[in-house]
């Protein structure tokens, strides 16, 4: 019989997984927001508890910790996003064997990079050897904890993340209470690094127990990073955009704290405080995204792969959009209320926490900025759910560039404008993200089936 007819089908079968792109990208919001919450909470914890440190020592301590968090987030965020995707893919195809070696590879890579770059930074900042050692320890352990958080989240143990941080924080506090009063800045910093190291160890143990031990080779995690380079870039841009304004304020308008390290007490404290006002809403919404939205999301892809007609798929797509609108509306109601309240009662709040009166205006901008930023973050996460990496990158980039330009402008324009830049930048990023989301939903079926 002449004719190949349907022999073609063998090719299709061999290529396999034509729908592999429909992998549920179950990157929990915890990944992007978790470190941020931890950072803010930690800084306030130290500020409140380490009362015996002299005020300059406390400022130095906070300044170093702030810088360490900032630098580690900027450098690890990208990797975190890419690794999350790699893991989600590996779990989807049930390729469990390579996970532990991949984790080991990532850990070694991050530890080595951060040790070297941290040492260089401390040297550049003119730190003493003891201070350098403590700072680098902290830098490495904090970076590794971000990585560990991503892993725990993907292997569906996010509840453990909170537990691990509670244990780590308790250990740190206990150490402070027991022997802290006899110690100086370097010792407190070392203790903080050790408690963070403990967190990393606990995470590693949980991860090692959570995944199977398989192949000893690293399962191609490094080539996978290149494959997910857009995510790598998106994460880095996102991390950078969160800190670029603070960094510019430190450099252009800050006061020296220790070595060549600088901080901007007014700007920093207003923003750390401002972010605390959105933490509850952020947490609640990420949980919503993980539960309710994930349900409609799964229903949609379930209909796609479950042989439903297009009309049904469209209907579920609309339901997904409706669910998002609903949760955005409730977020705006709840968090909007809180933010309006904070803005209204700003003078009182500022007085309570003991900041000078001229901080009121900056704090108000910080609250508004933080509110927009939460919405932006959620929009970005939703985009990643639909694998719209480039859309997410665009929104992050707008946020980064606007934030940098306006911070630079704000420093020269004077204290009256402090914080306004961040608020406007977050709003700009949010608007772009909403526009991108709208576009995504307007051609959802097309995007589902035809990758651009």
């Amino acid at each position: 019989m002449a004719g190949i007819g349907f022999d073609l089908r063998h090719l299709v079968e061999h290529e396999g997984g034509m729908f592999s792109r429909l992998r549920a990208y179950a990157a929990a919001g915890v990944i992007a927001a978790g470190p941020w919450i931890v950072t803010m909470a930690s800084l306030w914890l130290v500020r409140v508890t380490a009362t015996w440190l002299s005020s300059s020592e406390l400022e130095s301590f906070l300044s170093i910790v702030g810088a360490v968090f900032a630098a580690s987030l900027v450098t690890v965020s990208g990797l975190q996003m890419a690794v999350t995707r790699y893991l989600a893919d590996a779990l989807y195809v049930q390729r469990y064997g390579g996970l532990l070696p991949a984790f080991a590879t990532c850990t070694a890579l991050v530890a080595a990079l951060q040790a070297v770059s941290g040492t260089l930074l401390c040297w550049w900042l003119d730190f003493s050897p003891a201070m350098t050692l403590a700072t680098v320890l902290l830098y490495v352990s904090v970076s590794l904890s971000w990585l560990g958080m991503a892993w725990l989240t993907v292997i569906r143990q996010h509840d453990k993340v909170l537990l691990v941080y509670l244990v780590g924080g308790a250990v740190f506090l206990a150490m402070l209470m027991l022997i802290g009063s006899r110690l100086g800045l370097v010792d407190v910093l070392t203790m903080y690094a050790v408690s963070n190291g403990l967190i990393v160890v606990m995470m590693s143990v949980l991860i090692a127990r959570g995944v199977e031990v398989g192949d000893v080779r690293s399962g191609g995690v490094i080539p996978a990073m290149w494959q997910h380079r857009v995510l790598l870039l998106t994460g880095t841009v996102y991390g950078l955009s969160l800190w670029i304004d603070k960094w510019l304020f430190w450099v252009l308008d800050g006061v020296p704290t220790i070595g060549a390290l600088r901080q901007h007490p007014l700007y920093d404290s207003c923003f750390y405080l401002g972010y605390l006002t959105v933490v509850p809403a952020m947490a609640v919404n990420l949980v919503h995204l993980e539960t309710k939205f994930y349900e409609v999301y799964r229903a949609y892809y379930g209909a796609v792969t479950g042989n439903q007609p297009l009309a049904r798929i469209r209907q579920l797509g609309q339901r997904m959009a409706a669910s998002l609108r609903e949760s955005a509306a409730s977020l705006i109601r709840v968090q909007g209320g809180i933010t309006v309240g904070c803005v209204a009662f700003a003078p009182w709040i500022i007085e309570v926490v003991g900041l000078p009166e001229y901080a009121v205006r900056v704090f108000r901008f910080a609250c508004i900025g933080a509110f927009c930023h939460v919405l932006l973050l959620i929009a970005i996460l939703v985009m990643l759910y639909f694998d719209r990496r480039k859309s997410a990158l665009r929104a992050c980039t707008v946020f980064l560039v606007t934030n940098a330009l306006l911070a630079w402008w704000s420093v020269s324009a004077g204290p009256y404008t402090y914080g306004a830049g961040f608020a406007v930048a977050a709003l700009a990023g949010l608007l772009v993200a909403l526009w991108e989301l709208r576009r995504t939903f307007s051609k959802l079926e097309y995007l589902t089936f035809m990758r651009e």
Binding site: G5, F6, V304, M450
Partner: protein, 505 residues
Amino acid sequence: MTGNDDRADIVLILEGTYPFVMGGVSSWVHQLVSEMPDLTFGIVHIAPRAGCYEAPAYEMPDNVVFVEECGLMPPRRAPSAARVRRYRDRLAAAWQELLQLREADPSVLPQIAMQFEELAADGLRAEDFAAGPAFWDALISCYEAEAAEQSFINFFWTWSFAWQPLIELFFQRVPRAGMYHTVSTGYAGLLAALASSRWQRPMILTEHGIYTKERRIEIYSANWIHDGASDEYVVDSKAPYFRQFWNHHFEVMSRCCYEQATRIFTLYGQNRDAQVADGANPEKIEIIPNGVNVEALTKALAEAPPRAADAPFTVAFIGRVTPIKDVRTVLAAMRLVARDVPNLVVRILGPMNEDKEYAERCQVFCRELGLEETVRFEGAVDVRRELPQVDLVLLTSISEAQPLVILEAGAVGVPVVATDVGSCRELLEGRTTADQALGTGGMLTSIASPGEVARCVCALYEDPDLRKRMGRSLQQRVLQFYDEHDMVDAYRGVYRDCLGPVEVS
């Protein structure tokens, strides 16, 4: 060789056959090419993917000037979004035409060929078509028009899988030649039609088996209609829509080929009817049957030792021992014959290794019938040498096209009892009036009817004259109408007509 820019006198457009895959059609092509050293041939071979066959299975005759491979599903990269946007309108317009083709209107083919020529000249490629909003819009419009209740993911893959190879063909550039000859419809037929339309050169089609019919059988036994949930092809008996989709798809391809073909050839009358049913113009269709090497067979007969007068009555089954040949019916019939014919010998001549389990079962069945003394499973033998030692040839196939075994038996004057399938009736009773006048060369039975077969065999056993008469009729028929040299000569004539007197040296 021609003196102009043509790269060959004849370009053969083939699909999954010569020169890479052995088989009946391949041997036929090889013979045709080998016996016309005065003409140059080019070969365009369509495969799922270029390079998926390692090396030609035949030694290329010197007059084959090129062999090109065309892959229907080459590995592709998605075009950039900018490209898709830039060409959006043109792609949409081209899809409109393609959808018209789907309406089974083959008259748009020349237009499509021209349009794709322009698109290719402007730098568009096959991958641009399988991506972007234009592809999506075409798909959606078809889905909403005819399949809105169906599984969308199935439709999506069915559609992509159906159109990708065609788009590849539209972008394929077949070298210019004096004429084109394709031996099937399907992808090869479509490509031949496109080449013929593009270069304004004649195209002929020879169909041995009917492509759409073979596909229909494949589709009905298919268990691979795509199911996205498991990323595999699984049984989808609940979705007759997709079966219809594929049937229609292949019918459209055949229709395009029939429409563009200058002349259409097939082996026997029933095939002709099938082609007409698929939309071929009956006036274009001619029958050129396959032939056998009469000379060699006659020589073998002359050289054979004379049969002893007391030789047992010998019935031969010649063919592969497979279910489609229905060897069990032979055995059951012989059980009945053995009661009336004392010195019966039944020889099963053919390879037993194609379906070993079936061959095994046949041997067990044979023992159960108590025929182990009568029936001999002899495996593959030289049929030319054995045929003169046989009184009667049996053919019990459930399906056949134009079985060579009847022609070979006829060439040595052995009558045949055959099932009424394929061209068996034509071969035994004659096709044209002149042919019919030669008399019948054997007897016809229904399929899977041991009783009928037994009655025929007994009748022929009891009447040696009838046997002789039928053998002679069949021999006359084969000598006159089924000599393979006639087949080659017929095609030589066709080529000459198509190429024109100037171009043949």
